[in-house]
Symmetry: C2
Subunit: 362 residues, 2 copies
């Protein structure tokens, strides 16, 4: 298990790893889109801001079909760096882990089976109107989580929502988590100022201040969140009473933890955050500093290394581009654990390269 | 296991029971609606023909919420006899079996999480245009089935589609299964003549004859089927290569078997039909006579007996009203098997009565 690091809360992290080692997980992927992501300069999850509506459906098509249907090629950053869904796909494929896609609110429907929760695409948080029916999405996702927990031995939940670190910053700040300057970015130059400005505009439009909505996560999501959040948090709350849940993501997981803590704190002992080494190494962000404010939850990281990759698009991950998304880190952790360590980081890179080269050549 | 009967293909049935006894299933429910169901006198799955659009979403709301959201009360026949979803709910609840709802095509969306396959409500088979995109629905359902098979130990698949025995008759006849006078009905007086007339109109509009589409199940479904069918058959084909599948339904299962046989006959050895004693006892229908024409697949039946119920609405099942639907029989079989026989038919009736009385009094 040397390719899984415990980056924060070592004791609880080791205990979590012991609990899920060799077990059979289900990978659920909560997705959504927002107008917030179309703020110029805020998200690199798409070739340009308007294409961010296509990124989540294209990501999950890649997971289930091995190729995208709603766009040609695969989602890329403006510089052409490919989506982390490639990593997730490689990990889940190597370890034969099943996938279930769950929509919190989309504009473009993916051409694969997905769970519909009745949500709508998110608005722009600068208007203070971000998510229409957060509690309804949450309640449906909770029912889903309860049912998934009866068959899967544990859940790994990933996400794809462009602009997600900005909406996460918004919800964390609204709920009293000081995440200013601490959220990560898919860009090498983390646009903290723009994110903070965007959240502050949302606070003004919503007539709220830092910490005002500590006890009201649905209102926080409604004003300054995104539709992925209630889908993700609902599954955690529905499942973690019965089985362990690995929350697969970077600093956005802080917002989910804050929501879960407000609704069902007693299940946090059955939860861990799973991410990539690139998030842990990100000097422009502070995942541990976020988590420490919320709960005694461990942070695990897949010790990925793309430095020796033969593809520049993958090598770029070592320079801090993309870093995480679509549950990439958590999926790698789950693959390593399911194989009891037989799947190594080298195997993961080789598989990512194989998928990438097939997609590039086709 | 005395409350599970092997009604047909005894040896294969006993072997199937041995294979799934004590195992943990997932109950998937494929649903859809059609204009065919609005033919006066063809379906009792709704208080009147126009309400049949509400029956499948209401049924699955009952399964997941314990009550309906899209209609007051529960779906009933024109005579007020309640939906078999009550039986399914009782069985799944007693045995703690998870549920996943899968839509093949709906007009009214259920207020619960459900898997979207991109299908549309079905047309009227009398026009020869019944299902728009049968192959696309099938392919998505197949991907879903492949993924479900990685966590569940076996699948139980039920259905809710009003008018379903007529569309089943259509597909079976188109594929060369002589099902004339053999399909069951939710009404005590089985309207065989009306069903045959409806199918014949569909054949004329489609310019096909008996058996013409033996090798082309998608075309058969497109002309004279319903959108539940490709969702159901896709899951069977996706899952049964890896895990056993109990097809939970009555004579409609003949159409699914014919579709599966045309696409992947080698998996039929891992499949059984599971229904209620009321279907086996139905002298107006012939499930075994249908199955025998298609494949060496066993037919199992839950030995339910509502004769001593304190509710007239449930006692009516003994008079041949409703009989089956929403996977009621298969869900009872799965509950009995999961509990290794500890859950008896008396327990099932008691639980159905408990749920029914709560719903009637509220």
């Amino acid at each position: 298990m040397r390719d899984v690091l415990v980056a924060f809360n070592k004791k609880a992290g080791d205990a979590f790893l012991e609990r899920v080692k060799g077990k059979k997980p289900l990978f659920a992927c909560a997705i959504g889109v927002t107008e917030t992501a179309k703020t110029p300069g805020i998200s690199a999850a798409g070739e340009n801001p308007d294409l961010t509506d296509y990124t989540p459906p294209a990501d999950v098509e890649l997971l289930l079909l091995g190729k995208c249907r709603c766009i040609p090629g695969v989602p890329v950053t403006p510089e052409g760096i490919p989506t982390p869904a490639l990593i997730t796909k490689a990990a889940l494929g190597l370890a034969d882990i099943p996938v279930l896609v769950v929509s919190g609110g989309l504009r473009v429907k993916p051409q694969i089976p997905f769970v519909e929760l009745g949500g709508s695409p998110g608005g722009d948080i600068k208007t203070g109107k971000a998510v229409d029916n957060a509690e309804e999405i949450f309640e449906k996702a909770k029912i889903l989580g309860e049912n998934l927990a009866k068959n899967a031995e544990y859940l790994v939940i990933g996400e794809s929502v462009p602009g997600g670190t900005t909406t996460a910053l918004g919800v964390m700040m609204a709920m009293g988590v000081n995440a200013e300057g601490k959220v990560s970015s898919s860009m090498p130059n983390n646009p903290h100022e723009l994110k903070i400005k965007t959240v502050k505009a949302g606070f003004k439009a919503s007539n709220i201040k830092f910490g005002d909505l500590k006890g009201n996560p649905f209102k926080a999501v409604s004003h300054v969140g995104d539709p992925m959040m209630p889908a993700f948090a609902g599954m955690v709350v529905g499942a973690a009473g019965d089985i362990p849940v690995l929350m697969a993501g970077g600093t956005q997981m802080g917002a989910i933890l804050a929501i879960v803590k407000a609704l069902k704190p007693e299940i946090l002992g059955n939860v861990a955050v799973g991410t990539t080494r690139w998030i842990i190494a990100d000097r422009t962000a502070d995942l541990a500093g976020i988590v420490a404010q919320i709960a005694d939850v461990p942070v695990l990281a897949a010790n990925l290394d793309f430095g020796q990759s033969k593809f520049d698009g993958l090598k770029a991950y070592e320079a801090g581009v993309v870093k995480e998304g679509v549950g990439a880190g958590g999926a790698c952790i789950a693959a390593i654990l399911k194989s009891s360590g037989k799947i190594s980081k080298a195997d993961l890179l080789a598989e990512v390269e194989k998928i990438y080269s097939q997609l590039v050549s086709s």
